[in-house]
Symmetry: C3
Subunit: 247 residues, 3 copies
Amino acid sequence: MFKAIVSADTLRTTLDSVSVLVDECKIHLNEEGLAIRAVDPANVGMVDLELDAAAFESYEADGGLIGVSLARLEDIAGMADAGQLVQLELDEETRKLHIQIDGLEYTLALIDPDSIRQEPDLPDLDLPARIVIEGADIDRAVRAADMVSDHIALGVDEGDEQFYVDAEGDTDDVHLELGRADLIDLEAGDAHSLFSLDYLKDMNKAIPKDGEVAVDLGEEFPVKMHFEIAEGLGQVTFMLAPRIQSE
Amino acid sequence: MFKAIVSADTLRTTLDSVSVLVDECKIHLNEEGLAIRAVDPANVGMVDLELDAAAFESYEADGGLIGVSLARLEDIAGMADAGQLVQLELDEETRKLHIQIDGLEYTLALIDPDSIRQEPDLPDLDLPARIVIEGADIDRAVRAADMVSDHIALGVDEGDEQFYVDAEGDTDDVHLELGRADLIDLEAGDAHSLFSLDYLKDMNKAIPKDGEVAVDLGEEFPVKMHFEIAEGLGQVTFMLAPRIQSE
Amino acid sequence: MFKAIVSADTLRTTLDSVSVLVDECKIHLNEEGLAIRAVDPANVGMVDLELDAAAFESYEADGGLIGVSLARLEDIAGMADAGQLVQLELDEETRKLHIQIDGLEYTLALIDPDSIRQEPDLPDLDLPARIVIEGADIDRAVRAADMVSDHIALGVDEGDEQFYVDAEGDTDDVHLELGRADLIDLEAGDAHSLFSLDYLKDMNKAIPKDGEVAVDLGEEFPVKMHFEIAEGLGQVTFMLAPRIQSE
């Protein structure tokens, strides 16, 4: 069984964090909250999301698994005003999700979870560098890099205690350096990896501009980005595989 | 003769109520105000509009008839700021309408009324149910139904004293029930009819979200929707023919 | 050498005044400020712009000449917030412009000035009429004319002391008359010329709606429009060649 009430804002933020990578996903309806893991079709970008039961107005679940179309659910959540509550209830018989918003009842056909791409294991990497940075700074770096290139290098210089972003275009370059004073936190360690800007742009859409993001980096290793949603009651991790350096 | 001054807001609201159904229309310039009746090319949706002389800053007319392109008139009215006055004067000789907005003079060629589709008679139906509802609730129902289907059922359950909206898609459904407490008024009588959502979406664009709409319904009968414009000095009626139920 | 700091607003306004006519331009880095002159590929519209050194937070230059892509520079300037400062520094060796916005460094490859269309001489015309008008009134006239035609006549009637705008379409006409009381200033002299609306629409985009524009007109002569940018520390002149009257 699954029966929950959640604010439209929290529901939308949750769905947006996953829909930047995939169109459909499996949602684990655990007793302690929702859990979603998904990887994009090219196996380059992954998301791992948990939304605690406490992020809901009310929440009851006993460990089921459902498959959903994210675009459909986002459309429905979009019908609600910012502060409005959305009521979700699973009909186990018909495998439909009943969604109520202020008298309006939407019956959503679920997708067979077995027909959805398998959930990835997010590898437990021991990455040498971690920075904690404002979401707005990631946004700025991604938008600037996008003006000149389709890939972006992220790195940490252990000696200089600098986090840097590099994008090299055919004629123009973009460079951003943030020292300890510009960052919320820095655990220095040499790191440098090249990433596809398309993926980072998609992930950037879901990263709250006014929140903190912890970024783990290595030498030609994936980047992991952790941030909170739902006032700390939800946790999202994005992982992005590096591109092979062309030099 | 025809000579009038009207606020840009009132003019725009008037034109928008008709342009959702047709591109051109005849305007009756009666002594007591303007009158427009029009039906869409498929004979499915009709509009009947009256704008009293009192809705104008000044108004003089003696019963003429003109044909206009609504898009042209809307473009011109769109040049004015919200509070600005629009001066209209018919030149009987040239069959042109002179429109002045703060020194700017626009000369609009009229259309021969005989070349415009004939005006419909809005049948005087004796419909068993009437609800009075907020325009915002119609908007909500139409937008929700649009997510799943291209048609929508509107009905009243006399016994339960409920107005309901149903839209059934291939996989998902939308249902909305509003009881006496959710409505401004309810005259219960059994009613249920299916309508094309495309037409209702167009009509919805012209319905003021913050105003009242009186909706008359029957069993497989047209729906009539009445609302006021121009602070009560204008009356609009939309009529929409039902679709054949496919069950 | 060239090294300057300027507010993002001032930089954007400057670039926009030129980019409405051309994609690339030469910028003269004089000791007393920047100077740009450019003509569109069809030799119909010209711009002459000067931005005084005093419009910058700091400014050092010794008479160099650079060629730039306006779209690129506008994109970069668009990364800054309204109040933010943009630091510009020319690297003479590499012929690149280093642009810094709050830690973000952009390296822009310059264009060989010899590859950019030659700068025009703006002829020193002795035009018989000058009006000074609000930018907002030019905007209104251009938008109204655009509804009916692709050309626009601007003129002054010396006897009536009127500035007028005429646009004649296939069926509809637009006419605007502004007398001495509606204008900021009027030096009457008979003038009447026809212009391409496409060019005037582009120039209108760069004309500040809340500022004054001095418009010089003659009989079948080019129009000159002068306005200030950067709080009076920059001057822009647009010149537009007339179209042959088709009557």
